[in-house]
Amino acid sequence: MAQPALELKGISKYFGSVAANRNIDLTLQKGEILALLGENGSGKTTLMNMISGIYYPDEGKIYVDGQEAVISSPQDAFRHHIGMVHQHFKLIDIFTAAQNIVLGPGGKGARLSRMNDDVRAIAQKYGFAIDPKKKVYDMSVSEKQTVEIVKVLYRGADILILDEPTAVLTPQETEKLFSVMRAMKADGKSIIIITHKLHEVMAISDRVAVLRKGEYIGCVDTASTNEQALTEMMVGQKVELSIARPKASTDRPLLEIRDLVVRSDEGSRAIEDLSFFIRGGEILGVAGIAGCGQRELCEAIAGLRKVEQGGIYHEGESIVGLTPKQIAARGISMSFIPEDRLGMGLAPSMSVTDNMMLKNYAEHRFDIAPVPVAEEASPAKKRWLRFCNRLGAFINKLPCPFVNRRAARAEAQRVIGELDIVTPSTETPVRRLSGGNVQKVLLGREILTEPNVLITAYPVRGLDINSSYLIYDILNRQKERGAGVLFIGEDLDVMLALCDKIMVLCHGRLMGVVHAEKTTKEELGLMMAGALDLAEEKGKPMGVAKDSQIAEGEDSAWNA
């Protein structure tokens, strides 16, 4: 057998008492595509970071082309012809593609004219579509990714590591990436691709290596396995890979959005003239490439972002311009589960208890329990105790400067019990919990208030398979209870299975709302890329309910 391109032997990495990687052996042959599969937190990225010189392994050895290699910096990695494309791009916005590519160690005295030609040559060889003179800030996500890959190739990498490259791409872009990868493979390059989408693993890889909880489980030939078997390797037990979709009750529209315009942090229009509605008892999915207005839309509905134009109506009542507190004060029970859980929905260094009272601490009152009055006590004592109880009841009604942690702890315990949250105690800071448990704390707090509109942004991002299915289950239960759920998702397969209707956004514009049962992934992909515009095609305004709750005349702009 030929010399492997890369070989890892007994690699371990510890963070405190946590073993991110334990005793991992991995072999990458020349000219093959190896998929590295594992749930979040199984140590895939840590392992790749050690190969590319960002971390240094605590134990074990790395061999490149049969020679032992010590890789203690990214420069070392490049010396061994290893290049990594990170999940979060590391590009300089104001430079052109070619400038970004040439930048870095071992510059060969870059001349601009030569530089562009070099880049074009590489692009042609592997079939990339790239304009060397385009500035990075003008690029789409997939173009930025192309620049990253070309950058690695330009530096002469023979071993490429791609960390979740498809997470930000539409199905069509993913297909394009795969054809480029096949071209690179034909050229003799070895590629490791990290992903957790099983169908992509099946489509592109030659072999699959599986990690679970930092340990190496095994390596199988793609041709001799299937998705179910891989899932079982990943999770360690049999998993039911189906999502239930209880029948939607066609209730009246709960939340209606009309002609909404919202600006992003940078001041550009993140959402443009968007109209849609959610009925009670349905899940409306929102599909779109990352960063095309989903966050702004959620924040605007939740009252956290200024609405430039248009209306948001809850059961016919406008809530535009109200703060979250004012919305709650009107008796509207709306919950927002933001995508950045530890940055927005929860306070990471505070305990589970303290996070439970985030929304209702202001209503906390003194909690003085009445003293039982014994029958046989003397009348004077009885009178005194009754007086104390009356005083206590009076004090309980007064505004209270203190928080009531006892009540919050009881809520925390209830949520922990109901959702099976794994935590040492109610007083553990949430940032110490695993991703799935963090999400359960957040979701648990929100559904405790029994909201009738639930907005969730990427609720399963970063969660393992079991937790994900539990979250789907919770959302379905909310739907059956009659709540309207807005589900911002990224995995189209999941959305097709879970949602009742799917709304597609492209650069903040509505591309159309389709029934999940009647559409296909390809159609959604085309809509996400902006190639198919159902909203225009049908020639009638989409996203307006026939049985609208908005009173006639209230929204004159719309009627005109």
Binding site: E68, L346, H364, P401
Partner: protein, 449 residues
């Protein structure tokens, strides 16, 4: 084959350490620092009093006489109040570096009341006005940066820092305005002094200490149990989460800084009204900055901060006495030594969070894995974990490496002070584990594979 180059020092994160062990490391660091200082002092002092004379002087400087002890209490109380004022803002991640200015403004407002109204109004009324004026002046000095932070997102560190100099020069201006001739110092004012408990130093110190106790208890409860305290922690943890929870962040920032400044103003009121009866530009005694140290070393917890305040004042007062006893004429030495002790105390936090490994690979022992420098292994060995089974195998490599380790650990933790290497590795719990136990752990690891 070309020798494979390995990084020499490899730092990894430790598992969370039990409290007693962390405390032991801190105590060890302080002890070590004191020993280093003792060597330093006895080596360079003009008057020799012996190695242990240093410790004696340190203690007599604080506990020697009743007066010294009372002043020790008074300084601690004042410093603690300032630190508590700062910590309220720090909990919100609002870096209020303007403690000095806020204290000085409190002093100035108090002195103005005494100067203009003393003798004209009844003392009681003037004292009442002094209190409100001081607190308001301190609060004003803190609320200006807070408003700018809240509405224009200016940098609060710079803003509060600059406000210090404005306050300082305002004080200087008023002193020259009131006393245009003479030494430029203000004589103590006779009227409108705060009432004392009995006579002498004790009578003046007692109210100050009483105020500090009340303030500590109040701030502890405020931060821990109140809704305001909850909001402050929430904003400190994540502003976005606070907004998501519907908190008006601007309002809370301003409200909290009013409290922070008011407490500093209160210290100014005590300094002028009760202790000095006059104002000078150095009256703040740099407590605004020392207070930052107290807050950070106390981990923003009022109770730990109380201990830290005692520790810091003990050092600075004790060192004053050491300087006198050993015949140093300059106060600079005292600052150097105190600085050295801070350095050790804060530096040891690194070893509580991280573990340092050294890769020495003498040619004879290439195959052997890198060994660890940590307290854990020593601790495990002490608890009677089974000793190494293949201990002898690594003997040559280890004995070669051991002296190097001790030296390196010392240079790691102490930086420039190479002269005292042997004594340092003695006291530093990080550098302590003897070679034998370290090997024991390696042996165990190997066995496990």
């Amino acid at each position: 084959m070309e020798r494979v180059k390995q990084p020499l020092i490899h730092i990894t994160k430790r598992a969370p350490m039990p409290l007693w062990k962390a405390l032991c490391i801190r105590a060890g660091a302080v002890l070590l620092a004191l020993i280093v200082c003792a060597i330093f002092i006895s080596a360079s002092a003009p008057k020799q009093k012996g190695f242990f004379g240093y410790f004696g002087s340190l203690f007599t400087g604080v506990f020697g006489t009743e007066r010294r002890f009372l002043l020790f209490l008074q300084d601690t109380a004042l410093l603690l109040c300032v630190a508590l004022a700062l910590v309220v803002a720090f909990r919100m991640k609002f870096w209020n570096l303007g403690g000095n200015g806020q204290v000085l403004m409190g002093c100035l407002a108090c002195a103005m009341c005494m100067y203009y109204l003393g003798g004209k109004w009844a003392d009681g009324w003037v004292c009442l006005l002094m209190f409100f004026a001081s607190v308001a002046a301190g609060a004003l000095w803190a609320v200006i940066p807070a408003v700018f932070k809240a509405f224009f997102n200016t940098n609060e560190s710079l803003f509060t820092l600059m406000m210090n100099y404005v306050a300082l020069n305002l004080v200087a201006f008023f002193i020259t305005h009131w006393y245009p001739t003479g030494t430029g110092a203000m004589p103590p004012l006779e009227d409108a002094n705060l009432p004392t408990f009995g006579s002498g130093v004790a009578g003046r110190v007692l109210p100050v200490v009483l105020v500090a106790v009340i303030v500590t208890a109040a701030i502890y409860c405020y931060l821990r149990f109140s809704k305001h305290g909850y909001e402050i922690s929430l904003i400190g943890d994540s502003k976005n989460t606070a907004r998501y929870a519907g908190i008006n962040v601007k309002k809370v920032v301003i409200r909290t800084l009013v409290l922070s400044g008011a407490l500093c103003g209160l210290v100014g009121f005590l300094l002028v009204g009760s202790i000095n009866h006059m104002v000078s530009t150095t009256m703040d005694d740099n407590m605004g900055f020392t207070g930052i140290m107290v807050a950070w070393m106390g981990k923003f917890d009022p109770l730990i901060m109380t201990g830290v305040a005692f520790f810091i004042i003990f050092l600075s007062r004790g060192m004053g006495q050491v300087c006198t006893d050993f015949g140093f004429t300059s106060e600079a030495l005292s600052d150097i030594v105190v600085g050295l002790i801070y350095f050790f105390f804060i530096g040891c936090e690194f070893f509580i969070v991280y573990k340092v490994h050294f890769n020495f690979r003498p040619r004879a022992a290439r195959a052997q894995p890198a060994f660890e420098m940590n307290g854990e292994s020593a601790h495990k060995a002490a608890e009677g974990e089974s000793p190494s089974k293949d201990g002898t195998q690594n003997e040559p490599a280890m004995s070669e490496a051991a002296p190097l380790i001790a030296e390196d650990a010392a240079t790691m933790s102490e930086g420039a002070k190479t002269a005292d290497v042997p004594s340092m590795s003695e006291g530093n719990p990080e550098a302590e584990p003897p070679p034998r136990t370290r090997r024991a752990k390696n042996g165990g690891n190997k066995e496990g594979k």
